[in-house]
């Protein structure tokens, strides 16, 4: 393989770089304003209630956290499985993973009832709580992936590259398992009571992470006027196809096994048939936009090397993934919990037995989008400070 040169991202002219940064900065500032507004007034100004307690910010946060672990995939393939096509992309893969996780965590934090108590969350642990374990997993992820990045960039640290690569690989599997388990522990909520939740989150992370990776890679190379080879993109694209197919398959298995469990019939038909907006999100959002169309764009020979098709497919995978998490998080809460099995609730002041109403509010949306902007800002700043991107990603054959 030819020698790779990495260089900081300068984007041709300073204006181009700083204009991009200004745009991201504005989005982040708006998000912070939205968070302040929600905290100041209290959560009643959001769509969240005592029935649907986790809203849009959780959807964004979980989406970003899941994607973060998947974004590390490319680096893992490069170091754990030693793929020469992937190895030069390892640095960016790690940087993106750090950025996405940070973006997701900021959203999660700012949606807490008491975000000012971050220090309590960091100093009081209930080790029976999967949430507490996640705080540890997330902190550790930053540390390990940071080291990993350093091992890739610093020649002196190069001998640690493989062991750290392995550590990072396993750590992020644990991280996604932990995130999926947040739902697995909610035994009383029918939508979540399934062991398949954690493995499903892992495969979802592969798919979303790679989609994020492809989009940001294409964007960065356009932004920086650098060469990006078709062959490499085609590899990534094919890999994405496999992951998207796997997510679809898992979603099917998940819902079909749930159909088998008599007790879960209700929640299944809620999601698959009569859940209104959630049913639409499942079929149109998750299955069609997030699965079928991207698969077509990826595998149809008509779009063989079309870069727009790859970008569009990745974008749709992300949109579909967003809907998938929305259905899991919000749909799962909206479905009425069975507090009184065998009884019909005639009256309740607390919405027992009724489908929980939730309409996302603008501030929640702005906060969530801010999380993505934070991730992108960290990537842009990181790529400017460190030698993350190869100067050219021409296909190996051409440059050798």
């Amino acid at each position: 393989m030819s020698k790779m040169y990495y260089r900081e991202l300068y984007c041709g002219t300073p204006v181009r770089y700083w204009a991009g940064m200004a745009l991201l900065g504005t989005i982040v500032a708006i998000a912070l304003g939205a968070a302040f507004y929600m905290e100041h007034n209290g959560h009643w100004v959001t769509g969240m209630t005592n029935q649907v307690v986790w809203g849009l910010p959780h959807v964004f946060a979980i989406f970003l956290i899941v994607a973060a672990s998947g974004a590390l995939n490319v680096a893992s393939i490069g170091s754990v499985f030693g793929g020469p096509m992937y190895k030069p992309l390892g640095r960016f893969s790690s940087l993106l993973a750090i950025g996405l996780l940070a973006g997701g965590l900021v959203v999660l934090l700012l949606d807490l009832g008491r975000p000012d108590r971050l220090i309590i969350a960091m100093t009081h642990y209930n080790f029976k709580s999967i949430f507490a374990w996640n705080i540890i997993l997330y902190s550790g992820f930053f540390a390990i992936v940071g080291l990993y990045l350093w091992a890739m960039m610093d020649r002196k640290a190069n001998r640690y590259y493989r062991p750290i690569g392995f550590a990072a690989f396993f750590w992020r599997l644990a991280l996604t398992t932990g995130t999926g388990s947040i739902f697995g522990f909610l035994v009383a909520r029918e939508a979540y009571d399934a062991a398949i939740m954690a493995p499903m989150f892992i495969i979802m992370s592969f798919s979303y992470g790679l989609a994020f990776f492809i989009i940001t890679l294409i964007a960065a190379y356009m932004w920086g006027d650098r060469e990006l080879g078709d062959l490499r993109l085609a590899r990534l694209k094919n890999l994405l196809g496999v992951f998207v197919g796997a997510v679809l398959y898992f979603a099917l298995v998940f819902n079909l096994t749930n159909l088998y469990v008599t007790q879960h019939h209700g929640v299944e038909s809620f999601i698959l048939l009569n859940g209104g907006v959630y049913t639409a999100m499942f079929w149109i959002g998750q299955v069609l936009i997030g699965g079928v169309i991207p698969l077509f764009l990826i595998y149809s020979p008509a779009f063989d090397k079309a870069r727009w098709a790859i970008a569009a497919a990745s974008m749709m995978v992300l949109i579909g993934g967003f809907f998938q998490i929305y259905v899991i998080v919000i749909g799962g809460q909206a479905f009425p919990m069975s507090v009184f099995p065998g009884k019909e609730v005639l009256e309740s002041s607390f919405y027992d037995g009724t489908v929980g109403a939730y309409a996302p509010s603008l501030p929640e949306m702005l906060l969530g989008i801010g999380g993505i902007a934070i991730a992108m800002t960290m990537v842009a700043v990181g790529a400017r400070m460190f030698k993350v991107f190869p100067e050219s990603l021409e296909d190996p054959g051409e440059s050798a």
Partner: protein
């Protein structure tokens, strides 16, 4: 009545806890600079394991249209609403139910069931959600970060999140915006040595007498006697949480 296994196998539990804590400390080291094992030891927060407080609610006696217990709870704890039922706090609520197979209709009140094995305590990341040795499940509003994971985990929808600024708080129950709260079994009364909750008192005063409160560990208490003499059940007994609140004639 399975009151006797109130604190099962405490030694084994402690051991598991310590092991997990030790393993955790090793894992934490690279990532987290600041960490101390949570002071979530329930023994250190007063209360006595000699008691387990519980309630028996008679669904036959809970009268249509009555809201005496709900009103009493609200005024006892300063729960003032904003006429926004979806976000206002409700520690106790009346529910009217119809049996799917028999069509029998009755009414009962729901509140925190003060589970012996409370899922809300298991999932709480900071240990803010805790169970006292006398079985009362509470939220320490000083360390609650408002993550609402406990609300996701509670099978009874027993908890409320404080969605807005608070006014006219009651000294009986200091509350906190952005924190989660729920029925305290009038712990402020119990800690003063009283054994009557606000809801029970109000229900009794209306003449319905649908709520009996007392010490499940005292064989002579009214509640123990009542549980002995009649059939009662836990809601969602299948979850094996061994609730402190029981229902009869449901």
């Amino acid at each position: 009545m399975s009151v006797k296994n109130d604190q099962p196998d405490m030694n084994r539990r402690k051991f598991v806890g310590t092991t997990v804590a030790a393993a955790g400390a090793v894992v934490v080291a690279p990532g987290v600079l600041l960490h101390t094992v949570a002071g979530a030891d329930p023994e250190s927060r007063g209360a006595s394991a000699k008691h387990r407080w519980g309630m028996l609610i008679d669904a036959n006696k809970c009268a249509e249209g009555c809201s005496a217990c709900v009103d009493a709870c609200n005024s006892e704890h300063g729960l003032t609403g904003h006429d926004r039922p979806a976000t206002d706090a409700q520690w106790i609520r009346a529910v009217k139910l119809k049996d799917n197979s028999t069509g029998h209709i009755n009414r009962l009140v729901m509140m925190c069931q003060h589970c012996e094995h409370p899922p809300c305590v298991d999932v709480c990341p900071t240990g803010a959600s805790f169970k006292r040795t006398d079985g009362i499940v509470l939220v320490d509003r000083h360390i609650c970060i408002g993550c609402r994971y406990c609300m996701m985990a509670c099978p009874y929808k027993a908890r409320s999140f404080v969605h807005e600024d608070l006014e006219n708080q009651s000294v009986n129950a200091p509350r906190g915006k952005g924190c989660v709260e729920g029925c305290t079994m009038c712990v402020h009364r119990i800690d003063r040595g009283e054994t009557v909750t606000a809801c029970q008192e109000a229900c009794h005063d209306t003449g319905h007498g649908a709520i009996v409160f007392g010490d499940l560990k005292d064989p002579d208490s009214e509640i123990s006697q009542a549980l002995k003499s009649q059939n009662s059940r836990q809601i969602r007994a299948d979850l094996k949480l061994n609730t402190g609140v029981r229902y009869s004639n449901l």
